[in-house]
Amino acid sequence: MESNQNKPRYGMVIDLDRCNGCGNCTLACAVENNIPPAQPEENERTGITWMRVYKVDNDKPYPENRAVYLPLTCHQCDHHTPCESVCPQKAVEYDTETGIVAQIPVRCLGCRYCMTACPYHARYFNWWDPEWLKGMETTLNPDVSTRMRGVVEKCNFCHGRLQAARAKAAVEGRRAIADSEYIPACAESCPTKAIYFGNLADANSEVSQLAKDKYSFRLLEQLGTEPKVYFRSEQPWVHQKMDTKLSAAAKENAHG
């Protein structure tokens, strides 16, 4: 993990033992980021859900079947960001100031190469033009631009909120923003406080400490994408299913 003392590296730790799969995060994200409601023919594979909750089970039959709910968003890969390196026209940009992987919808050609590159399936394509109910377009968030069909979009850790926090700090004459001033919509809306968000580069932050916890792991650790979203569970079957041995080894290597 590229840790820089001066520049934050925003990341998340999601506690799978706390998530009850309510869907607040998915909805709060859609409200914040002006994601349109579904067209009648839209389904699980063509819908746009920057934050999406999956039900992951232990593949056992009833009644041993157990499940956790797993909120999945863009993992803001820190190393050789797969989507960034493949975009033919640099419509994806890893922001070195924050570690957030930004998507530039006005430059996107809609070739969808980044979508094939992403192993976390975090990217979504506008198969339709966005449509809102009459009057509902007055509830759009002015901090986030609307997109048109034919472009790819994904979670950017509510970058609009980061900008707003910075603007507020600037007005008050501060350079740095406080931790509590910047929180993405999903983390804010979670009623069970399953989503922790913060600066992974700050060793004292809650997120950073949880990430080092022995129960935390990352998905597809072995691909080497260095995702900045961690998951946490104390249930052994979850670790088995997610093949977390490599995560444990990586943690040992990094932190002794």
């Binding site: 309510c22 909805l27 069970t192």
Partner: protein, 692 residues
């Protein structure tokens, strides 16, 4: 002059090169890039000053504090109030997108007259006065033929509720029917005298035995999950979830006890059997011996067979429930028979937790500040005590969602010539169609007071304060009932606007000098005694705050009867078909409660499959394979009441032999399929499956 081909070619070539040196092609490229940034018909967000306002959500009795982000005066997003003592910053999925409800296509802006003929309905707009004329005419007719006029109130405890009761008290054959948490109503009616409003004090219980109640899925306050988890991880609270399929609550619970659907009553009586046998109860009741003889047939071995669990499970659960104090048992109202509800409430009576911390909370009525109503006994009813087909005019207040009106039950009580007047913001497709729809405002458009959530220790009161104007043509329920009263010649109805009356209520609460007030703007909790004036109270309540009563100390209780609802209970009837396929409803409670939802809910429905949507039938893979159904294929569900098409889905968390059906779309088709028991609760229904 001879212009050669070469010269032309030269000119053309030279011009082309020269053009490249002008800004024209570059500007054209640049412009085209800008033109392709967005189509002109894609909406752009409006700009304006950003502000945060505070109010309370009115979608359900949980009354969560809400922080509303506004652009100019327009609410654009909703979040919780972190310091709110009851909701603790949590909202439910419906609440997060509640600000879209104003734009729902089913919204009504003028009173409607709806005529149903041959399965299709036609609606005509009418003026408010015309509607009042029609309704008061029907009321006169009811008087003449001695038929009941009933007001059905799914959210009792409001100022509007009081006016409804005033109205019902003065109308001949008037009835006021409140429809709240049904299991608590059942418990209340086991006592010889009314004991006051009840709630579940889940915060202080050490053991919660829940019969299918989605405690961790936005039942009661959405913050319940976080509160339970906090206690669970510290070993301070145990949740035993008893239900047929592995719901979200079952996943989070300390223990999940799978029982066959429809056998809750048997399990509860089995527990009662153990409690009595092992002398774990000190309850004194007039009909204890009668109860004992009923329960004697529910021995653990018999119940184990019926429910599909082991004997040890029943015994252990009974022991844990009665030996760890305080403990409380809860059961879902909509899908369980009165017997089942009674059986579970009996458990609470047996351990004597009624009126105690961590048990069933006995609360005080929250004063309304309005004139007392005489003879309330005669008008207060619940749906079961009203004779079938007796209601001539049924006024249903559906202006607030979050209550579970059983359409089938309402249909049953309506007279042949009965009319239904629905106070609602929306006109929705339901089998039980209202003849008149009076448009009311939605959340954020009107002021209303809200009473207590079901899962807190004390009574509370909050106010949902409007942030946007309501459209012309909509009326709030108080205005409607006042106008109807004067049209029908009913004299003593409180006059005054909603705001005036609710403000009066706040003043009365201030005058009582008890309880605490939470002020969301300051984040402070203060005793009512310490407030300086009524204005403090009012200002706190209208900005997302709440008033919480101090806990009631109950000194004595009237007597209760344990076997009140069990006269017809028969162990043989309590089993659902063992060797048949059984249809069981997944009723997503608060999330899809009796109302419209924002179209953005598609994110958790059709766009992610996180929650059931559409007509989907969930089957255990082994069951599906036995029948020969593969995932995604279309099937027809056939019961002896009807049939319905659905899409089959595999779900390993469902008990084999069950078909779980979601009720999110076409609920009328689905409900029509199910068998109902005596009190119109949906029973597990034998079903046959065929491929389309």
């Amino acid at each position: 002059m001879n212009i050669t081909r070469r010269e032309i070619l030269r000119f053309v070539g030279g011009s082309a090169l020269g053009l490249l040196l002008t800004p024209i092609p570059w500007k054209a490229l640049d412009d085209s890039a800008v033109w392709t940034q967005n189509w002109p018909w894609i909406p752009e967000p409006r700009r304006g000053d950003i502000s945060f306002k505070l109010t309370t959500c009115s979608l359900c009795p949980a009354a969560c504090g809400m922080r509303v982000r506004c652009v100019g005066n327009q609410p654009v997003s909703l979040s919780g109030i972190q310091t709110h003592p009851l909701s603790q910053g949590a909202l439910c999925p419906m609440g997060i997108v509640a600000h879209h409800l104003r734009y729902h296509p089913a919204r009504v802006s003028r009173p409607l007259r709806i005529i149903q003929k041959n399965g299709s309905s036609r609606s005509t707009a009418m003026t408010f006065d015309e509607a009042l004329d029609d309704i008061s005419f029907a009321m006169k007719d009811a008087r003449v033929s001695s038929q009941t006029i009933a007001v059905v109130d799914g959210r009792p405890g409001r100022t509007a509720s009081h006016l409804f009761r005033q109205f019902a008290a003065q109308v001949p054959y008037g009835r006021y029917i409140s429809y709240s948490e049904v299991s608590l109503d059942v418990l209340g009616s086991m006592f010889e005298k009314p004991i006051g409003p009840l709630g579940y004090d889940l915060d202080h219980a050490q053991v919660i035995v829940s019969f299918g109640v989605p405690l961790c899925d936005c039942w009661g306050t959405p913050a319940r999950t976080a509160r339970y988890l906090g206690k669970k991880f510290e070993g301070k609270q145990k949740l035993l979830q008893i239900e047929a399929y592995r719901s979200r609550t079952s996943e989070m619970a300390d223990r999940w006890i799978p029982i066959r659907p429809g056998t809750d009553a048997a399990f509860a009586l089995g527990m009662a059997h153990v409690i009595l046998k092992e002398k774990l109860s000190q309850a004194k009741s007039k009909d204890l011996s009668e109860f004992e003889s009923i329960v004697s047939t529910f021995s653990p071995s018999v119940v184990a067979e019926v429910c599909g669990v082991s004997e040890d499970t029943i015994v252990e659960t009974a022991r844990v429930f009665s030996m760890s104090k305080p403990s409380v048992a809860v059961i879902d109202g909509l899908t369980n028979s009165r017997e089942a509800q009674a059986a579970v409430m009996i458990l609470n009576l047996l351990v004597g937790n009624v009126g105690w911390k961590g048990g069933v909370a006995v609360r005080r009525e929250v004063p309304t500040g309005l004139a007392d109503i005489k003879n309330t006994e005669s008008i207060n009813s619940n749906m079961y005590s009203i004779p079938d087909h007796s209601i001539r005019v049924m006024l249903i207040d559906e202006s607030l969602s979050g209550c579970q009106l059983s359409d089938t039950l309402l249909q049953k009580k309506l007279a042949e010539n009965g009319i239904v007047v629905s106070l609602s913001p929306f006109v929705t497709e339901r089998p039980f169609c209202a003849q008149y729809v009076i448009p009311t405002p939605v959340f954020l458009e009107s002021l209303t007071d809200l009473s207590s959530p079901h899962d807190s220790e004390s009574s509370s009161m909050s106010i949902s304060f409007p942030l946007v104007p309501s459209p012309t043509g909509v009326v709030d329920p108080i205005y409607f009932i006042q106008r109807l009263a004067s049209a029908a010649g009913v004299v003593n109805i409180e006059s005054g606007t909603m705001e005036e009356l609710v403000k009066r209520r706040a003043g009365v609460l201030y005058g009582e000098k008890r309880g605490t007030v939470f002020n969301a703007s300051t984040g402070q909790l203060s005793g009512v005694r310490n407030l300086l004036s009524t204005d403090d109270m009012w200002n706190a309540l209208i900005t997302g705050g709440c008033w919480i009563d101090s806990a009631e100390i109950v000194k004595s209780f009237p007597a209760f009867r344990l076997s009140a609802f069990l006269s017809k209970v028969d162990i043989n009837k309590l089993q659902s078909g063992k060797n048949q396929l059984v249809l069981v409803p997944f009723i997503e409670k608060t999330v899809y409660s009796n109302s419209e939802i924002s179209p953005l809910m598609s994110k958790v429905g059709q766009e992610s499959g996180l929650r059931p949507f559409g007509c989907r039938a969930y089957l255990n893979p082994t069951t599906a394979e036995v029948i020969g159904i593969h995932e995604g294929c279309r099937i027809v569900l056939q019961t002896n009441k009807g049939s319905m098409e659905a899409e089959a889905r595999y779900d390993a968390s469902i008990m084999p032999g069950i078909v779980g059906v979601s009720n999110t779309t076409h609920p009328q088709n689905f409900i029509a399929l199910c068998e109902m028991n005596d009190n119109a609760a949906i029973c597990p229904t034998p079903v046959k499956i065929q491929k389309v």
